[in-house]
């Protein structure tokens, strides 16, 4: 590994999971005996495993020790494979090895601008549903997304939006579920 630990996505995800496990472990301390049994049985060993994973980010040997590869079991030429299978596996093996060596994702590999934009779009859609309901939000989101992001025509975007929302509305009617109308149209929020 040539990259530094904090340059890798896995390092930050492990830290996030550590924080989550720590919150659960600490919160469970105050619970009664039956209620904390399984949370503690899971969270404390999990903390240990995550710390080991974190160490593995700095010391690659530690990580490699726990890496289970199925490749040796299927190595070409083993007794239970015929020649054709062996060749096929050899080809597949090379492909897998190429993928595995290229598998480490660095923070710099993530297209942050695009990811942020997409994530923001999804959250905005959620907020729009809260404000204006599924029908309006679904229509607007599909229209805007397909028109500007997809570069489709206005007519095509509108058709897709109406079609998508139309099917969902019909389904909701069939299920006798009222789609959330949105706070602007009298929708009430359930307790949060």
């Amino acid at each position: 590994m040539t990259s530094r630990p904090w340059q890798r996505v896995s390092f930050w995800v492990i830290l996030a999971l550590l924080a989550f496990a720590l919150i659960i472990a600490l919160s469970s301390l105050g619970l009664k005996r039956d209620a904390k049994a399984l949370p503690q049985l899971v969270s404390f060993p999990l903390l240990a495993v995550l710390v080991l994973l974190l160490v593995g980010e700095f010391v690659p040997r530690v990580q490699r020790f726990f890496t289970i590869s199925w490749l040796p079991a299927a190595t070409p030429g083993s007794d239970n494979l015929d020649e054709a299978e062996g060749k096929e596996l050899e080809r597949e093996l090379e492909e897998v090895e190429r993928e595995e060596t290229a598998g480490e994702v660095l923070l710099s590999d993530i297209p942050w601008r695009l990811v942020s934009l997409v994530f923001l779009g999804i959250v905005l859609y959620g907020v729009m549903v809260l404000a204006a309901g599924f029908v309006v939000a679904g229509l607007v989101f599909t229209l805007v997304f397909v028109k500007w992001y997809g570069g489709a025509t206005w007519q095509g975007s509108l058709l897709l939006g109406v079609g998508t929302v139309g099917v969902m509305v019909a389904l909701a009617r069939l299920l006798a579920v009222d789609l959330y109308p949105g706070m602007l149209f009298g929708g009430k929020l359930p307790p949060f």
Partner: protein
């Protein structure tokens, strides 16, 4: 002498044109609902159940089972074609079905899907018919301690089988368990880890978790990587690909039989859901495969294992439902609801007094599985055209319909934000090399494990020896330990072998 008259009577019902027509209609509805992400066949069943009021019970059973039988195939279609499971149970079909589609082998994957569906259901039906008279005693041998070990074994198996970093697999599963413990526990009677939020009293909703981890994470991936859904249509050679895939299933009898057996057993044991059984079958397929490294990359064996298990499980769930009147799963609960709705009391008396109903249930579920799957083939070609659609057109449709599907389940608007949250979690876990599959299986098994753990400790008056008291517990615990030791040792050996090779 085995009395065949109820069997002929049940088949005779199907010969009536209106019954056959209703079963096919049920198939179509099941397929349509099954295909829609986040909606699923269960909703179709609940929606159409009231319509059957006043029908003959046998006719209603053929119609409702028509839906039930077809929906799992309906759900696997989008899982294979666009990596969005129609229902939670179909998530496992993604792992190898979608990579095959990406390789341009969608029709081959669908052929495998069809045949493994049909054969899994058939094997399940045979087992159910053979076991029905004797199952009651066998199910009762599994107490809470044994069932706790079954849940633990499921988690370890999938963590080991997911390959890569074992610790990442295991920790993903453990995090999944912890998420499942959020909210009010009806078993223990306390609320935990809710951060003072009323919304979290109901815990993390399964549908939000699944739609988030799979559909939303996929939308983010679609939009950011700008990958085409498929490398397109080199694999679309009409029925040749389908035929090839269907025939290929017969070359994997071991996977087919093992997964069908696991699925049927999972159906029989109350509480092990179809999704868990599919994941366990999948992990067992990895254990027994010569091509372990090809799993998650488009290995047909994985697709066979998942689908055969799902359909066999549906058949297996009939045993506790019919024999004991207890739902072994969601599917079992729906079947029980249908029987009760029509004034029939499931349980040993049903077996004794209403053999016609029992056989109608078994045969309708099996036959509708076969018909529904074959019917789905006609849709498959049409649905496969989805892949010719640009990704940017699919993304908003998936997002809007998935989140609306999340809302439809219990009409709580906050569930869609939960799904968005898990979409980000799924995306991050994928990028960090944590297998999402172990997270999901941990979540599914978490509540089960706690229920059995609590019940076992109550029975054992707090003494942990209860978990090692019975031969069944010891056997399952031993198998779990052996799996861990065996795979880790083989991992260490392979490292040494690799090191020795480098030195040479």
């Amino acid at each position: 002498m085995f009395d065949l008259s109820p069997v002929w009577a049940a088949l005779g019902q199907l010969a009536r044109p209106e019954v056959f027509g209703l079963m096919l209609l049920g198939n179509v509805i099941g397929l349509v609902f099954g295909v829609l992400p986040g909606v699923g066949g269960g909703n179709a069943f609940i929606l159409f159940l009231p319509l059957t009021f006043g029908w003959e019970p046998e006719v209603a059973i053929w119609f409702l089972m028509g839906m039930q039988g077809a929906s799992s195939f309906g759900g696997s279609l989008p899982a294979i074609l666009i990596k969005v499971p129609g229902d939670t149970v179909n998530a496992v079909a993604i792992f190898d079905g979608y990579p095959m589609t990406r390789r341009g082998e969608a029709t081959r994957a669908l052929g495998i899907d069809v045949m493994s569906n049909i054969l899994g259901a058939t094997i399940g039906a045979i087992v159910v018919i053979a076991l029905l008279p004797v199952m009651r005693g066998a199910v009762l041998l599994f107490g809470p301690a044994e069932l706790f070990w079954v849940a633990i074994m499921g988690l370890f198996t999938i963590a080991l089988a997911s390959g890569g970093n074992f610790l990442k697999g295991l920790s993903g599963g453990a995090v999944g368990i912890l998420f499942s413990l959020i909210g009010y526990s009806s078993v223990i009677g306390v609320q935990r880890f809710t951060l003072g939020r009323d919304y979290l009293w109901d815990g993390v909703q399964l549908i939000s978790l699944f739609i988030g981890l799979f559909a939303i994470a996929q939308v983010i991936e679609f939009c950011t990587a700008e990958v085409p859904i498929s490398r397109l249509t080199t694999g679309f050679k009409g029925f040749e690909g389908l035929r090839r895939g269907a025939v290929e299933v017969f070359s994997m009898p071991g996977h087919l039989l093992r997964s069908s057996a696991i699925g049927t057993l999972a159906g029989i044991i109350p509480g092990i859901g179809a999704t868990a059984s599919a994941f366990i079958s999948y992990s067992m397929a990895i254990q027994f495969s010569k091509k372990k490294h090809l799993f998650h990359k488009g290995n047909p064996e994985g697709l066979v294992a998942a689908n055969a298990s799902i359909n066999a499980k549906e058949m297996g769930s009939l045993i506790p439902a019919l024999g004991f009147g207890i739902p072994g799963s969601i599917e079992g609960a729906l079947i029980l609801a249908a029987l009760l709705f029509h004034g029939l009391q499931p349980g040993p008396f049903l077996l004794r007094d209403q053999p016609g109903i029992v056989w109608a249930l078994i045969l309708s579920l099996w036959i509708s599985n076969v018909f529904g799957t074959l019917l789905g083939l006609f849709w498959a070609n049409w649905l496969s055209r989805l892949m010719a659609v640009r990704v940017v057109y699919m993304a908003p449709i998936i997002l809007v319909s998935s989140l609306m599907g999340v809302y439809l389940v219990r009409s709580n608007i906050w569930d869609i934000f939960m799904a968005i949250f898990f979409g980000v979690v799924g995306y991050a876990l994928n990028k960090a090399g944590f297998p999402v599959v172990t997270f999901v299986i941990g979540f599914l098994l978490g509540q089960l494990a706690e229920r059995y753990f609590f019940q076992a400790t109550q029975i054992g008056l707090g003494d942990p020896a209860i978990f090692f008291d019975s031969p069944i517990s010891l056997t399952i615990a031993g198998i779990t330990a052996l799996m861990v030791v065996g795979v880790v040792v083989s991992g260490v050996r392979s490292k040494r072998a690799a090191a020795a090779e480098v030195q040479v």
